[in-house]
C-alpha cells in the first residue's frame, strides 16, 4: 500500500497514519488531538479555499492546515 502525505489525500480517502514527523509545540498539539501512528484517518473535506482540511479521527472531526498536514504520513488503505 502506498504511503503519502496527508496533504495529498483526496476527499473521502481513508488510511492509517504511519508517522508524525514533527516535535515541539505543533507535534505535541497534533498528538494531543489523537493524530498518532496506527490511527485510522479519513478526509472529510476541505475549506472553500482548499485549506484547512477536515479529517475524521477516532470518531471526531479535526481540522489541520495543509502545511501542518505535511508532517503526517498516511498509508492508504
Amino acid at each position: 500500500m502506498p504511503t503519502i502525505l496527508l496533504r495529498e489525500m483526496q476527499k473521502d480517502q481513508s488510511g492509517t497514519i504511519t508517522a508524525v514527523k514533527v516535535g515541539g509545540e505543533l507535534g505535541r498539539r497534533i498528538r494531543d488531538m489523537g493524530i498518532v501512528p496506527g490511527t485510522r484517518i479519513t478526509i472529510m473535506g476541505r475549506a472553500p479555499l482548499y485549506d484547512p482540511v477536515a479529517i475524521r479521527i477516532m470518531g471526531g472531526t479535526l481540522t489541520l492546515r495543509n502545511n501542518e498536514a505535511d508532517y503526517i504520513q498516511v498509508e492508504i488503505a
Binding site: R31, M33, G45, A54, G60, R65, E68
Partner: protein, 740 residues
Amino acid sequence: MSATITIALAGNPNAGKTTLFNTLTGARQHVGNYPGVTVEKKEGAYIFPTGEEATIIDLPGTYSLTAYSVEEVVARDYLVQEKPDVVINITDASNLERNLYLSTQFLELGVPMIIALNMIDVAQDRGISLDAEKLSALIKVPVIPIIARSGKGTAELMAAALELARKNEPWNPLHISYGEDVDLALQTIGQRITAAEFMTDKYAPRWLALKYLEGDSQIREKGRRDNPAVDAELQEIVTGVSDHLHKTMETYPEAIIADHRYGYIKSVLRQEVISHKFDADRLHASDRIDKILTNRFLGPIIMLAVLLGLYKFTFTYSELPVAWLETFFGWASDNLSTLLPDGHLKSMLISGVIDGMGGVLGFVPLIMFMFFGIAILEDSGYLARVAFMMDRVFRIFGLHGSSVMAYIVSGGIAGGCAVPGVMAARTLRSPRERLATLLTVSFMNCGAKLPVLALLTATFFSSNQAQLMFLLTLLAWAVALTAAKFLRLTVLRGESTPFVMELPPYRFPTFRGLLIHTWERTWQYIKKAGTTILAISILIWAMMTFPALPESQEQNFARQRQEIMTAASPQAIEALESADTPLPAEAVQIKENLAAVDTAQAGSALRHSLAGRIGTSMETVSWLPGFDWRTNIALVGGFAAKEVIVSTLGTAYSLGEADEEDNTSLSETLSKDPHWNPVMALALIVFVMFYAPCFVTVVCISKESGSWKWGLFSICFNTAFAFLLATLVYQGGRALGFTG
C-alpha cells in the same frame, strides 16, 4: 475532611463540561478570573440530598495537561496546588478514545478521579456501546454514564464523588511503561530529582521527570528558578535521550510518550469495553449537515447569510428595549431637572451621570441580543465552521480563523462593540495572533461610532448615504486586517500557531445554557460600564464645565437677557409668564432670542473650559486634517465613549441642552457652517473610525493582554494612524479641489 468538599470539573472542550456545570449548580455560580491570567474561573455550589454542600470548580477545557496554552497551565496548577477532593473527568462517550487521553494524564498525576461518560445517548445512537463497569475495573476509577443536558445520571455521579471524597485516599499515580529508552531516562531523572529534593514538595518525582521529557516549558521555567544547577543537569539527560531517539528512530521523547499513552488506552478499550455496531467512519447526521454548510460554494453564501441574520436579529429585536431605556433615561433626566435647583450638582447629575450611564446602559439590550445570537452560533458548533472556512483568508493577515468572531462582534457588521470583541479574542490560543486581534478589533465600526457616521453621512452625503455606510464597513475591515498584518510583521513578529482544532458535532443549544452564556457576558459589560464609564463621564463633564466663565462675561450675558426683556412689550411678557398657547408672535420671538443668548453662553463656557482650551490648543496640529476646536473637544470627549462625540459637537455648536437628542438641527447647523464641507466631513469620519479606542476598550485590551503597555500602545498607534489617514483625506481632497 473539611465541611464542604471541593470538586473540580475537567475535560476536553466540547465534552459537555459547561452543560454539566450548569445542570449541577443552576444559578448558584460565580465567575471570576484566575490570578494573573484572563482565563475565567467559574465556581458554583451543589447541595447533596443529605444537605452536605460541595464547591464545584469548572476548570478550563483542555486536551492535555502539558503546558500548551494558558488553559492547560491553569487547569494543572489548580489540581497540583489546590488539590481538590475529587476531579470529575467529563468525557464525550461518542468520542471516548481521544477523551481518555486527558484521563490518562489525570491517572498519571494520581488525582482522585471519577469519569463521567457524557452523552451516552448520542453514543448509543451512533451504535457505540460501552461497558462502564468493565472500564472502571480496568482503570480502577469509578465510571458513571450520564446525560448532562437532561441531568440523567448526575445524582449517581455526585453520590460517587461524595463517597470518593469521604475515603480521602492519598494520590495514587499510574505508572505506564513508555518503552525501554524513555523508561530508563525516567528512572535516571527521577532518581536525580529525589536525591536533590528538586521541587519534590510540589510534584511527584516521576511525574516531574515525565514533564521534563515532554519538554514542558512551564515546569522547566519553574525548575530553573528553583534550582538552576539541577535543572541544567536534568536537561542534559533529556537532550541526551532526545538525540539518541532522533538518531536511531527519527522520533521525539514526547512522541513516544504520547504513543504509549494511546497504546494504554487502546489496550484498555480492546478488552471488550467498547463495541461499534457500525463502521466507525460512518457518516453521522452532523457530517451530512457539514456537506452543505461547509460546501465550497454554498458554505460561504450560507455563512454570509447567517452573519447577516445575526446582525438583523440583533438590531431588529433590540430596537424596542433600547427605546424603552432611552425613554426611561429621558424621564429620569426631566424629573431631576424639575426637582433640583439649577447649579453644578444638577448639571453634573444630568450631563455627567445620567447621560454617561444612559449612553452605556442604552447599549445593554443590543449587546444582550448580540451575545444571545453568538451563543447560539457557538453552542451549536457553527462558529468552529466559520473559523474553518475563514482561516485561509485570515492567515494571509497573520491571524487565525478564530479571529473572525472577535471582528464581527466588534462591528465587522457595523454596530457591534469592541469591548465584547476584545473579550471574544480569548478563544485564540496563540499569544501573538491574539494580541494582533485585540489591537485591531477596535478599528471596526462599533455601535457607538454609528451615530457620528450617520450624522455626518446624512448631512454631507445624503444622496448616497447607504452606499457610503457600506463602503465604510468595508474600509474598516481593510484597515483592521492591514493593521494586523503590519503588527504581525513588526512588533508581533513570529510563527503562526497550529490550527489543529476540533469541529464538534452540531448540537441543539439548550435554552438554559444560552441564557447563562448571554447573561454572564452582558453582566460583565454592565459592570465595566457602571464603574469606569461613570467615573470618566463625570471627569469629562468636569473638564467641559470648569473653569467657569469669568464674572464679567456672565454679567455680559445677563445684560443681554435684560435688554431683550426691557425691549419687549408688556403684553408679550405677560403672555410669556402665563404660558398660554398659542403665544403671540412677539413672545415667540423673545423666547427665541433668549434661547440664543443661552446657547451662546453655553458655547463660550465650553470654549473657556479645560476641554475647550485643550481643543483650542490642539488646533496647532488639527488644521492638517481640517478640524477646528469644536471638533477637537468632541474627539477628546469621544475617548470616554464614542457616542459622546455627537452630543459634544451639539454643545460646542451652542445648540443647547434641548437639541442634544435631536440631531436634525445639528445636521442643519453643520451643513450651513462655512467651515464644514464634504472633504472635512470625510476626514472626520475616517478619524473617528480609527483613532484611539474608547476608554473601556483600552481597559479591556490592557486586562486581556495582561499589560497596560498594550492599552497605551493602542491609544498611540491608532491615533497616529487615524491622524495620518485623515490628513491624507483632507489635504488630498483639497488638492484635488473637492472643497466646494
